[in-house]
Structures are given as structure tokens and as C-alpha cells.
């Protein structure tokens, strides 16, 4: 018998719930597959919409939408444009909000904790995997759009709505930067969802709560009377990535948006770890 052993042979706290295992656990879930499919399908839906619609209506304000069919890069940028405000919030809220709460809902959380997977280790694995899934979701959309758009409209420079164009190689980098910013700006959504996820056993509550608060942020941002205070709303910067898709790259909005998002996210992640570390798991 294992006399005097502190733990079962081969047990090492830092090796519990490896990222790969957690990824496999989450990957086969239906919601993951549905979300991936939806994001991958969106560019095709847009493609059909642009094929059906008649784009030329002079006298309107020129927007990114008008350049959608100029090149694959333009199509990818437009796909981001239509989805960045809300659609891309959902996978982040879903992956980060569902991850702990659903385990609690299935009661599998207590078996993991009794295995024992140390609580910080459990949260860490879950957070890393949830963030990785979120990033994958955000990257998937423009990637598919770029491929679809390139096939449909050809490879060429990114045409800028107000005139001029960015050479394709630079535009590709800029698009990458825009996606990177979207990822960073969604950290706050991730933090919020993740924190809620550790507070509730209802996955829908965590996801819905995070999405609801994002909507609240959007509403507040529309209140112009708040003036400069709006700069501290993460939602204020949600389209700052457009600054990367103009002739002169502007960092200001993206840096501020990242700062705001990062600050909130750090606090929310810390709240999640703090609360979960001492929580009585009764689910």
C-alpha cells in the first residue's frame, strides 16, 4: 500500500487537467461546432447578399461596405465590419461564460476538483482554452472571408472607401492588426463572462449576463452627454480597429481601447480566481 504517500503515484498538481484534455472536452461540444460553422458560413452568406443586392446608389455616404467587392481583402474587412459590433462578442461570451458554469451544471466540476485538479489549475486551463477558442472564432471569420473573397473578387490591394488603396501585402498586415485589436478589445467580454461563469451554475446566465453588459456598454456609449467618460467604456473603442485600415495608421484609439479592455479584464480575471479559490462548490 501507499504508505506515507502524500499523493497517488504519478500525481502532480501542475499536470492535472492538461490544456489538450480540456480542449478535447470542449471541442466536441455542439455549441462549439455550431459557433464555428456559423462564423465560417457568414462570409458565404455575405457573398450571396452582395451578389443579389445592387450596390450602386450614388449620393450616399461612402462606407467600407461600398468597397466590399473590390478585393478579397476588402471583403474580409467588410466581414469584420458587419460582425465586430455584436456577432464576435457572442463566441467570446459563450466560450468564456459557459466553460465553468456548464461543468457545474453537469456536476462534473466536483469530480474534477476532487480528482483533485487544484482550483487555480482548473481555472487556468479553462481560461486558456476558452480564450484560445475565442481567438480562433475571431480569426476564423476574416480568414474564411479572405479566402472566399479572394476566390470571388480576386487578390488585390485594399481599397479604402475615401480613396486610395493599401498594397495587398501591407493591407494583410493591417488586417492582422485589426483582428489583433478585436481580440484584445474582447478581453473585457471574456473577463466578464469568465467571472460570471465562476459565480453561477447556469451557463446561460453567464453568457447572457456578459452579452447583456456589453449591450449596456453600447447603450451608455450612445449617451454623448457622458463626453470623455465614455473613453472608459470598452464599447467606445469597438470600432477603433478601423484606424488600421486607412492610409495613415492611427494607433491612438486602438491603444486606448486595449488599455481599457486590458484593465477591466485583469480585474475581472482576478475576481474570478479569487472568488473561485474560496468558493464552496455545492453543485
Amino acid at each position: 500500500m501507499n504508505r506515507h504517500l502524500e499523493a497517488a503515484p504519478g500525481y502532480r498538481p501542475g499536470h492535472t487537467l492538461p490544456l489538450r484534455v480540456e480542449a478535447v472536452r470542449q471541442l466536441r461540444r455542439r455549441r462549439t461546432l455550431v459557433m464555428g460553422g456559423l462564423l465560417a458560413a457568414l462570409p458565404f452568406i455575405l457573398l450571396i447578399a452582395f451578389a443579389i443586392g445592387d450596390g450602386d446608389r450614388p449620393g450616399r455616404r461612402i462606407t467600407l461596405m461600398d468597397t466590399a467587392t473590390a478585393s478579397g481583402l476588402n471583403f474580409a474587412a467588410v466581414s469584420l465590419f458587419v460582425s465586430a459590433g455584436f456577432l464576435l462578442v457572442i463566441p467570446v461570451a459563450l466560450f468564456c461564460g459557459d466553460t465553468v458554469a456548464s461543468e457545474a451544471g453537469w456536476s462534473s466540476l466536483r469530480y474534477l476538483l476532487a480528482a483533485p485538479v487544484p482550483r487555480w489549475r482548473l481555472l487556468w486551463s479553462k481560461l486558456v482554452v476558452a480564450l484560445a477558442f475565442s481567438v480562433a472564432a475571431i480569426v476564423l471569420l476574416p480568414l474564411v472571408a479572405l479566402a472566399v473573397g479572394t476566390v470571388a473578387y480576386g487578390w488585390g490591394p485594399l481599397r479604402i472607401p475615401t480613396g486610395g488603396a493599401l498594397p495587398a501585402d501591407e493591407a494583410l498586415l493591417r488586417l492582422g492588426l485589426a483582428v489583433l485589436f478585436i481580440v484584445l478589445s474582447q478581453l473585457v467580454t471574456a473577463g466578464l463572462a469568465f467571472w460570471l461563469s465562476t459565480r453561477t451554475d447556469a451557463p446561460l446566465g453567464a453568457v447572457g449576463g456578459a452579452v447583456g453588459l456589453v449591450i449596456l456598454g453600447n447603450v451608455l456609449d450612445a449617451v454623448t452627454a457622458l463626453e470623455d467618460w465614455r473613453e472608459f467604456l470598452p464599447a467606445h473603442w469597438q470600432f477603433a480597429w478601423l484606424d488600421a485600415l486607412q492610409p495613415e495608421l492611427v494607433w491612438d484609439g486602438m491603444v486606448k481601447g486595449t488599455a481599457v479592455s486590458l484593465a477591466y479584464a485583469l480585474v475581472l480575471f482576478a475576481l474570478a480566481f479569487r472568488g473561485f479559490g474560496r468558493k464552496d462548490v455545492v453543485s
Binding site: M1, H4, S108, P116, R119, Q246, V250, D252, A270, V282
Partner: protein, 938 residues
């Protein structure tokens, strides 16, 4: 001059002025409240020769504290009311601030003399005299106050003139102003007709005591408190605007000069002289005080070369100079008001107050326009600076130009003209500019163009590019009065041409040049507009020489100009010493994430994780208990929200190796709570749990020696049973070989269902799978909570045997149940709990009473006599200590054994002829259980 053009808002008159009592002696005072520090303001009209000057004096704090003074002037077409906010700000910064409306503006009377040294110049001297009398103002000597002068445009020139004319002035900060007004309005002897027209019309319209009707546009904010006073409604109660011979309040000689030049479209020497005499340039050698020069890049009225000439003159006199090129200017754009005001204040802090610690900024700074911030739609600005002012021709490089000799037309009537600058509009296109949108346009057939090859590297132009061209005019009949021959007026500009052909005219600026004797052919060095502009790699530079421009007067007679490059190089100043400053972000861009990180760290570091674990003063590990699977002492737990009710209170028991321990109690007895604490899922409020001597806390490693099934199964419903077990084991991080999956699967007995998703399982299947999961890795301590729920009878029996066999291997099993029969048949030891308390603990036999007892049911319902006889016979069996009739309702005999096994007894009884019908243990345990939990144990 702050000419107010593009905006349509009418000037407003400060309500405060209405309070002013008329007359030089009459002064009204009011304390401006609602601000951090109240600013004391007093208005007075000072009598000057030929004019009364309307002034306001701003101070804070006690009036006997002497402090430096600042004279703050306004732009052309405005009056002192636009300065109130800035004056209050300066007053709060500790200065005595005097604002005034210049002659002919606001409520000041007198004629506009365009900073006439004998008019406006003398006024400023008298204002300095007035300041010297004030008790608030610091003095350098008798009648010599410590004073600085600042203001934009018209007032900027007044500041320069004050420094040149009055030795008492100690520092100046002129902004977007001129050095030589003649050069500003008649550059290269070409009449800048649009600006001059706007300029003189503004002054001419200025009615008595009001600037109504002058469209306003400047960086200065309107006073929010000003009551709007619109024209029309009150025209009856005020004197009608009565232009003085169409000249408004201009001095007559200025008016005559303007009319003369405007009509001829060509400035004359007399006109130049008149303006030059009133310009700061006339006092160039006498301006010897520290000078902060703010100039606008979007300024076709007073372009950057005016600032350059001021800087060279003043620093030539040995005084410190700093040059700041803002993004805006008279053409509009961002005038960076807050930053500029800050810099002016720093300049005065250093040079008036003598505070050596103040950083007055770099000797040269330029604001560069980046792209658009799409969040708020503003153009972004970024500073670049150098420790020395580079001038306009620093670090020149030659960019080769190519193009044949070209002949183009000067159209009769000089129309339609090419388009470059539109006063008040050009720089307002900052934002468009960053999108490469340009309004400039050259009329076909009216220009020559010379292009460079695409640049290999991006190249910054900072200053004045120059080019040398050869010009010949033919057919021109515009003869100068002095008979110097045919004249041509040409407009030089440098375009930035993108690879896709889009052309950008930096700052919308163009340089005119008048070429005399052009019919003979002349070689002309073109000084092109001073700009700060980056030409990207792959872009070309294009020199355009045009015959017309909307903003300027050019010869009306038709002519053909032939232009060729005399020198195939465009000499471009790069000022490479000017380096981009680190992007200026507000403090919170770094501060907020840092604060977030600190808060996060604090949250994590102060988290109470220590609950559970050993009791105070006891070691984490107790080696003496290393063979004791479980020891619980003093365990208590109250759930949040039910502070008065204990879920578990003061429970203590111990489990030894090889035992099958039954944890018995009715629902709500605290069994599950105890097991949860045992698994580290919830933390006890008091007491400790030791497993194999190690104190249990959430996630304690020793839990890896425990397998548990508590309160139902917990699986990922979308995965198969096999995948669930496999992933669970991988989640423990332990070697796959230690799992003993096959043994566990045997217990689960799921057959083909093992590869179906768990969500399709029945309750019993999940239950079995969960027990199998608990047994993965053959844990030293196995905890099963209500394991037989949902199992059918054969499976229940099988489960009992599994548990007993498991304990026989030296491992330990804890089974909790609310069913007596369950524990009775499989457990060696019991812990009975009720309402959170431990009622009794010990071997099953001990709890059921001393010794074993058997109940023997007899056939045929024997009467008492026969029963007594049977009892006698039974008592005679060896190993039976007593036998007596059992009390109703059971009936039969109750035997107490001592050493005999039930099997032996049964055999003996049957052999003795007793009609044994039933034979089993006496249900004393149930009695005991009911007694125990029924009593006053809570």
C-alpha cells in the same frame, strides 16, 4: 488677425461688459465664481490719444501680492471678450492679466492702424504704464512692471512690436502672426487678393463698438455665458453702422492704399512701405526678449516663413527662441489650443516668474497629422521636435525632376484660375488630407509640370523646397510702370503624387513669384511653400508652375509662358534632426492597465485560501496517522445564508484500514456535507479532516488517493461513457497505466452503451459509470454516496460484494446511506448522524448491542407453553446463552449467541426438532437507529 471666416456664428458681446460703467474712472468689479479659485475681474476704459481703450484686469488672491503681469490681445475682427476664459486661466496660474480691445474693435474707439507704432503701439506702452501702477503687479524698477505679452495673429504682431518698442516687456509669445505685413499681403509683389479682401472688408465692416456681422472663426472658444445678441432686433437702439468712406474704422491712408492696390491688382512701393513700417520687421534689431513663436502649418495668410524670419531675427539678437508649428493656422484645422496655452504658460513661468525648473519644451516642435481616429472622427496629431530650430532649409537633398520645356497659357482675365488655397478652408481639410483628398486643381493648359521618379524611401519635407526654372513670356503686354519690361506672375507648388495618380498639395499652399523682364527669358529660383509633409516611398514629387491662382491677382493680359528646368533638381529640406516624439497618450493608457494589474494582484494576494487544512498549531502532515485512511475531528460547517443552523456540527470519527464504514443517517443529517468537506469541495468552518495523515484542503494532493462518488453522476453529456472515463483519468494527470480501466468498466457493466453519448443513459447506467469512475486508479479510500440508488436488486447485491471485496484488499470504503438495510449487510463499522451531529460510531455489532442475537420464526404459531418448551431446547444448544420468546409482533424465539455461528445454531435447532420457518438477525439495529435519531440528540 484671427480673421474669422468659415464659421457663421456671429460675434457675441460679453454680458459682463454691460456692467461696465462708462468713463475712465468708473470701474465695475465682479467676482467670477463657480470656478476652483475665484478670479477677480475689473473692467475699465482707459483714455488714450484719439481713443478710449476698453480693458479688463484679472487677478486671483490677495491684491497686495505682487506677481508678473501678462498682456493678452485678441485677433483681428474680435475683441477682448474672446479672451476671458484664457485670461482667467492665466490669472489662476498666478499672473495679473490685462486684456484689451484694440483700437477700432469691441468697445474701444479710435481708428484701426494695423499696429501703427503711434496708435496701437503707443496704446500697449500705456497699458504697461497702467500695469506699473497696480499694487498686484511685480516691478523690475520704478514704472517697470514684470510683463509678458501674448496673443494670436493681430495681437501676436502687437506683442512683437511691444517687445521692439518697449524695453520693459520681458517675454513674448506671439502666435500665428506676421513679420512683415507687406510680405504677407503682397508676397513677391503679388497681390494676395482673397486674403487681403477678407482682411480689409472685416475691418471696414467693423461698426461702432461691436463686431456684429463679422463671421467668426478662431480656435478661441466663445464665452459660454455671453447672451446672444443678434443683429436686426436692436438696430434701432444703437448707432447705425456707418462706414467711413467705405473704410469702416480703418485709418484713411490704409483705406486709400487698399483701394488702390485692390483695384490695380498690383502692389506698389508706397503700399509696401506703408505696411512695412507698421510691421515687427521694422523693429527687428530691438526685439531682445525670450520669444515663443507659434506658427500654423495651415496658414496661407501668414505662412511658416514669417515665423522663420522672426526666429532668425530674435535669436540673432541673442534672445532665447522656441518655435512651435501647430497643425492649424488661419486656414483652420486643429489649433491645439490646450497644448499651446500650456506651453505659453510654461514659457512665462520660466521667463517671467524665473522658475528655472519649468520645462519650456524643445527649441523646435512640429505637430504632424496622422490618420483619422475613427472612434471620434478627429485627426490625430503627433509631435516631432529638435533641440535646435532647423530653419527652413536644413538637410537639403536633391530630388531629380524630369520634364520637357513646356509652354502654357496665361488666360485673358486670368480665369478660370487654378485652385490651391481658399482662405479659411484649406487647412480645414486636414481630415480629408489624411485620406489623400485634395481640393487643389490646375486648369489644363495653364501649367507646366515636372515629375520625379517614385521615391525609393519615404522622405519627410520640413521647410521650403526650392527649384530653379527658366521662364520666358511671350505676348504679354503687362508693362510695369517703371518700364522694366514684360512681367509674368507664376505660381509654384509641389505635389505629392501617389502611385495610383492621386495628387496631394501639402497644406494647400502655393508660392507666387513675379518675374520681371520675362519676355527676355529669366532664370528664377522658386522658393516653394514651407511645409512639413511626408512623401511615402513609391510616391513622386511633382513641381507645378501655373499661370493663375484663385487666391492671388495675376496679370489679366493673355500671354504664353514657356518654362523649363534650369536645374533638374528639386532641393528638398529634410531637417533630419527633427525626431518624432513618443506618441503622447493620456496617462491612463498606461495607468489604467497598471492599476488593473495592481488591483488584480491585490485581489489574488488577499484571497483567503487557507480555510480547511490543519487546525491551528497542528502540522500539515501527521506521520502517526499515515495508515489511518480518515480521521475527522471537531468538524463544523454552516452554509452561507443559514448562519444559525449547522449543516454539520462538531463531528469526529475515525476510519481504519480495511473497514467498510457505513455513514448512516436520515436525509439532511449532514452526511453529504461531510463527504463534500472530505473531498475539499467545501471548506469547514471548524475542525479538520486528515486523510492518511494529511490535512485536507481544497485540491490537497492527498485527494488523489481518494475515489469518490457523491450525490449523483457528473459527466459530459455529449461524450460517450468511455470517453468520459478516459478524459477524466487524463484530467488527473496520472499515468494511463495506473487507471485500471478494464476493472472499472467491468463494474460499470455497460456493454455496448459504453460508446454512446452519456446523455442517452438511464439513471442506473450513469450511476454505475460514476462508481466505475470513482474506482479508477483503485484509490486507497473509496467514498460512495448512496451507491445503490437506481440499481436493480441483482446489481445492488453485486455492488455490496464489490465493496466488501474492495475492502478485503486492504483498501477502505465509506458508504453513506439513509437505508439501514444497505449498510447493515455490507459494513463492518457504522457512523450514525442526525441533524448535523454524530450520534454514534463504532463496529456494527457494538451499535446493535453486546453479542449477536437471532430471531427464529417458528411454524404453526405455537402457543406459549410450546414456545417455552422450544426456548428450553434452544437454550440447550451450545453457544447460545439465552433463548426466550420474542415479543410481538414478531413472535418466535430470540436467541443470544456467545461464540456460536448462526449456521451452527441453525443446524442444532433443526436437529432438535424445532419447526424453524425463518431464521435471521434480530432487527435491533433498526431499533437502535430509530431510538438514536428519535431522541433529543439535536
Amino acid at each position: 488677425m484671427g480673421l474669422r471666416l468659415a464659421a457663421t456664428r456671429r460675434r457675441l458681446v460679453a454680458g459682463a461688459v454691460a456692467l461696465v460703467l462708462l468713463g475712465g474712472a468708473g470701474a465695475a468689479t465682479a467676482v467670477v465664481t463657480g470656478s476652483p479659485e475665484p478670479v477677480h475681474r475689473s473692467d475699465q476704459r482707459l483714455t488714450m490719444p484719439d481713443a478710449r481703450i476698453d480693458t479688463s484686469f484679472f487677478t486671483t488672491g490677495p491684491s497686495d501680492r505682487r506677481r508678473p503681469a501678462v498682456l493678452l490681445g485678441h485677433g483681428f475682427g474680435a475683441n477682448k471678450d474672446e479672451l476671458t476664459e484664457q485670461a482667467e486661466q492665466l490669472a489662476r496660474d498666478g499672473y495679473a492679466v490685462l486684456t484689451w480691445s484694440a483700437r477700432g474693435f469691441g468697445k474701444s474707439t479710435g481708428r484701426i492702424g494695423l499696429n501703427d507704432p503711434k496708435g496701437e503701439g503707443a496704446d500697449v506702452r500705456r497699458l504697461v504704464d497702467w500695469l506699473a501702477e497696480r499694487p498686484e503687479v511685480q516691478l523690475d524698477g520704478e514704472g517697470d512692471p514684470r510683463v509678458g505679452v501674448t496673443g494670436a495673429s493681430y495681437a501676436g504682431a502687437a506683442a512683437l512690436l511691444a517687445a521692439g518698442q518697449d524695453k520693459r516687456v520681458d517675454a513674448i509669445a506671439p502666435m500665428i502672426t506676421y513679420w512683415d505685413l507687406a510680405d504677407a499681403l503682397f508676397p513677391e509683389n503679388v497681390y494676395k487678393k482673397l486674403w487681403a479682401g477678407v482682411f480689409f472688408t472685416t475691418g471696414s465692416l467693423a461698426p461702432d463698438g461691436d463686431q456684429r456681422g463679422v463671421p467668426g472663426r478662431s480656435g478661441a472658444d466663445e464665452n459660454p455665458g455671453d447672451p446672444p445678441r443678434r443683429g436686426g432686433g436692436n438696430s434701432a437702439e444703437r448707432p447705425q453702422t456707418r462706414p467711413h468712406n467705405g473704410c469702416g474704422r480703418f485709418q484713411a491712408e490704409l483705406c486709400r492704399m487698399y483701394e488702390r492696390v485692390a483695384e490695380s491688382g498690383r502692389p506698389d512701393a508706397e503700399a509696401r512701405k506703408l505696411l512695412a513700417e507698421r510691421s515687427p520687421a521694422a523693429f527687428a534689431d530691438r526685439i531682445r526678449v525670450p520669444t515663443l513663436l507659434v506658427h500654423g502649418q495651415s496658414d496661407s495668410l501668414f505662412p511658416l516663413d514669417h515665423g522663420d524670419r522672426i526666429a532668425r531675427a530674435v535669436s540673432g539678437n541673442g534672445a532665447p527662441v522656441a518655435v512651435d508649428w501647430i497643425a492649424g493656422g488661419h486656414d483652420g484645422g486643429d489649433n491645439e489650443i490646450d497644448r499651446v496655452r500650456q506651453r505659453v504658460t510654461s514659457w512665462f513661468d520660466r521667463h517671467l516668474r524665473g522658475d528655472e525648473s519649468v520645462d519650456t519644451g524643445p527649441a523646435f516642435r512640429v505637430s504632424r497629422t496622422g490618420g483619422i481616429n475613427s472612434t471620434n472622427g478627429s485627426a490625430t496629431l503627433r509631435g516631432a521636435s529638435a533641440s535646435d530650430y532647423p530653419g527652413l532649409r536644413a538637410g537639403t537633398v536633391d530630388v531629380p525632376l524630369a520634364g520637357p520645356q513646356q509652354t502654357f497659357r496665361n488666360p485673358p482675365g486670368a480665369g478660370p484660375p487654378s485652385l490651391s488655397t481658399i482662405p479659411g478652408l484649406g487647412g480645414g481639410l486636414d481630415q480629408l488630407r489624411s485620406f489623400n483628398v485634395s481640393i487643389s486643381q490646375d486648369m489644363p493648359g495653364q501649367f507646366a509640370a515636372f515629375r520625379s521618379k517614385p521615391l525609393e524611401r519615404s522622405q519627410r519635407i520640413t521647410g521650403t523646397p526650392t527649384a530653379t526654372v527658366h521662364v520666358r513670356a511671350s505676348g504679354a503686354t503687362d508693362r510695369t510702370r517703371d518700364g522694366s519690361g514684360t512681367e509674368a506672375v507664376l505660381f509654384g507648388k509641389v505635389y505629392d503624387v501617389a502611385p495610383d495618380g492621386r495628387r496631394t498639395l501639402p497644406s494647400q499652399l502655393v508660392s507666387p513669384v513675379r518675374v520681371t523682364g520675362a519676355d527676355e527669358g529669366r532664370t528664377v529660383r522658386l522658393r516653394l511653400p514651407a511645409v512639413d509633409h511626408e512623401v511615402k516611398a513609391g510616391h513622386r514629387l511633382e513641381l507645378v508652375v501655373a499661370s493663375t491662382d484663385l487666391a492671388y491677382a495675376s496679370p489679366l493680359q493673355a500671354a504664353d509662358y514657356t518654362v523649363s528646368l534650369a536645374d533638374p533638381a528639386l532641393s528638398v529640406p529634410t531637417a533630419s534632426a527633427v525626431r518624432a516624439e513618443a506618441a503622447a497618450f493620456p496617462w491612463w493608457v498606461w495607468g489604467l492597465p497598471l492599476a488593473g494589474a495592481l488591483v488584480a494582484a491585490a485581489l489574488l494576494l488577499t484571497a483567503r485560501r487557507g480555510r480547511g487544512g490543519p487546525r491551528p498549531g497542528r502540522a500539515e502532515t501527521d506521520p502517526e496517522l499515515a495508515d489511518v485512511p480518515l480521521e475527522i475531528t471537531g468538524l463544523s460547517k454552516r452554509y452561507a445564508g443559514s448562519a444559525d443552523r449547522y449543516a454539520v456540527r462538531d463531528v469526529a470519527f475515525r476510519v481504519e484500514k480495511g473497514q467498510v464504514l457505513g455513514l448512516l443517517g436520515p436525509n439532511g443529517a449532514g452526511k453529504t456535507t461531510t463527504l463534500r468537506m472530505l473531498m475539499g469541495l467545501i471548506t469547514p468552518d471548524a475542525g479538520e479532516i486528515r486523510i492518511f495523515g494529511h490535512a485536507v484542503r481544497p485540491g490537497a494532493p492527498v485527494l488523489s488517493r481518494v475515489g469518490a462518488f457523491v450525490e449523483g453522476a457528473g459527466f459530459l453529456p455529449h461524450l460517450s461513457g468511455r470517453a468520459n472515463l478516459e478524459l477524466y483519468w487524463r484530467a488527473t494527470g496520472r499515468p494511463a497505466g495506473d487507471a485500471h480501466v478494464e476493472e472499472a468498466l467491468e463494474i460499470a457493466d455497460l456493454g455496448e452503451a459504453l460508446d454512446r453519448a452519456v446523455r442517452t443513459y438511464s439513471q442506473g447506467m450513469r450511476q454505475r459509470l460514476a462508481i466505475a469512475q470513482a474506482m479508477l486508479g483503485l484509490p486507497d479510500l473509496l467514498i460512495l454516496d448512496e451507491p445503490t440508488n437506481g440499481l436493480d436488486p441483482p446489481q445492488i447485491r453485486e455492488m455490496r460484494e464489490v465493496m466488501i471485496r474492495y475492502a478485503e484488499t486492504g483498501r477502505t470504503v465509506i458508504v453513506s446511506s439513509h437505508l439501514l438495510s444497505e449498510v447493515e449487510q455490507s459494513c463492518s463499522h457504522l457512523v450514525v448522524m442526525d441533524r448535523g451531529r454524530l450520534v454514534q460510531a463504532g463496529p456494527v455489532a457494538e451499535i446493535t448491542g453486546a453479542g449477536d442475537s437471532l430471531l427464529v420464526g417458528l411454524a404453526g404459531e405455537p402457543d406459549a407453553e410450546r414456545l417455552a418448551k422450544y426456548a428450553e431446547q434452544a437454550a440447550a444448544v451450545p453457544g447460545v446463552t439465552s433463548a426466550e420468546p420474542a415479543p410481538p409482533p414478531e413472535g418466535g424465539l430470540l436467541l443470544r449467541l456467545d461464540g456460536a455461528t448462526p449456521a451452527d445454531v441453525l443446524g442444532a435447532l433443526v436437529a432438535a426438532g424445532l419447526p424453524v420457518e425463518r431464521f435471521g438477525p434480530n432487527r435491533r439495529l433498526e431499533d437502535a437507529f430509530l431510538t438514536m435519531i428519535g431522541g433529543p440528540s439535536a
